[in-house]
């Protein structure tokens, strides 16, 4: 037991900065907080990783799931802004630096165009899952299809939007 804890600590120490770098470009808010959440989830799961390579694969898996979780919960999060002269400007720009805002606008344009070109069923699945955080089971019931069909539509929508972003030179966030 003690050896397992020591091994986990060693691995976390080894990969912590790498994880911070991965999360920095992908999560809203403090990447350090997100990294702590990843390590907490990893510790709770107690994965049986024979070597550092398999441990690395595992924590990246957990990290990717956390990225999606954080963006899904984004709407419910209350963000505290410091009261200073830049607060008003930050609010006007949506809390983003100018170059980040330009990037977001470009992404919005491509995603909107791609969604509008999809079949209504496919774009609806994507919107319901990402904008409204509606579970796939509910989405399937609303669309009158099987849950596998709803999942298939979500995955194909994801691939189409990803391809469109890459075609515009906006891969962003890719490892």
């Amino acid at each position: 037991m003690l050896a397992a804890v020591t091994d986990l600590e060693r691995r976390i120490s080894r990969f912590h900065q790498e994880l911070i770098g991965f999360l920095r470009r992908r999560v809203p808010g403090d990447p350090e907080e997100a990294a702590q959440e990843v390590w907490l989830r990893v510790a709770r799961a107690e994965p049986d990783c024979a070597d550092d390579a398999s441990f690395r694969a595992y924590f990246y898996t957990v990290a990717r799931r956390l990225v999606i979780d954080l963006h899904r919960r984004r709407k419910a999060r209350i963000e505290l802004l410091p009261i200073d002269d830049s607060a008003a400007e930050r609010r006007a720009s949506g809390g983003q630096a100018p170059d980040a805002r330009l990037h977001a606008d470009a992404v919005l344009r491509v995603v909107q165009t791609t969604l509008d070109a999809m079949t209504p069923e496919m774009s609806e699945v994507f919107r319901m899952r990402t904008q409204d955080d509606i579970p796939f089971k509910t989405i399937a019931a609303r669309q009158g299809c099987s849950i596998n069909t709803a999942l298939g539509r979500m995955h194909r929508a994801t691939k189409k939007i990803t391809a469109a972003l890459e075609a515009e030179g906006l891969p962003g966030g890719s490892a």
């Binding site: 898996t61 799931r65 995603v111 079949t119 099987s146 194909r156 891969p171 962003g172």
Partner: protein
């Protein structure tokens, strides 16, 4: 973007559910050890990191509002006939096309028997003409029809009782 080879049955089902918090946490162990599922996780996480910040600004297309037609439930075999007829019609169009165009390197003849154009036609031109004929025969929404076929196949996989 290179297409991953999805050899795992979970890649577009349980793994997707798990990614969005709708499956057992223990599924992470499978994803970490599966190349196909890891690739799916990577795609969705990377996209969410881009779309998440702008998701609230997306607007539904006016044509999509209230016009989502749910797919007919495949309650009996009848729908298969439609699929087979559609595919047969497409094959007939292609056969007619190649019959008119002949084999690669042959001359192209117009419908009017007294007008013969002695010129070779390459495969690229043949392909373009085939696509144009398909669009004309089945409408510009061929992609939507294929998407509907994908959905039907997914439903079949989920419920073999529909056969």
């Amino acid at each position: 973007m290179s297409e991953p080879i999805h050899t795992c049955e979970h890649a577009e089902t349980t793994t997707l559910l798990w990614l969005y918090g709708e499956a057992d946490e223990a599924h992470a162990t499978h994803v970490a050890g599966c190349g196909a599922c890891t690739e799916v996780a990577r795609q969705h996480a990377d996209l969410m990191s881009e779309v998440g910040p702008i998701a609230d600004r997306l607007v539904a297309a006016p044509s999509a509002e209230g016009q989502v037609d749910p797919l007919p439930a495949p309650a009996n075999r009848g729908w298969w006939i439609g699929v087979v007829v559609g595919l047969a019609a497409a094959a007939a169009v292609l056969l007619a096309l190649f019959g008119a165009l002949g084999m690669p390197g042959d001359s192209v003849t117009s419908p009017a028997p007294d007008l013969v154009v002695e010129a070779p036609i390459d495969d690229a031109a043949r392909h373009e003409l085939a696509e144009a004929l398909l669009d004309e025969a089945f409408g510009a929404d061929v992609d939507a029809d294929f998407e509907a076929l994908y959905d039907e196949f997914d439903a079949l996989e989920a419920d073999l009782a529909t056969l």
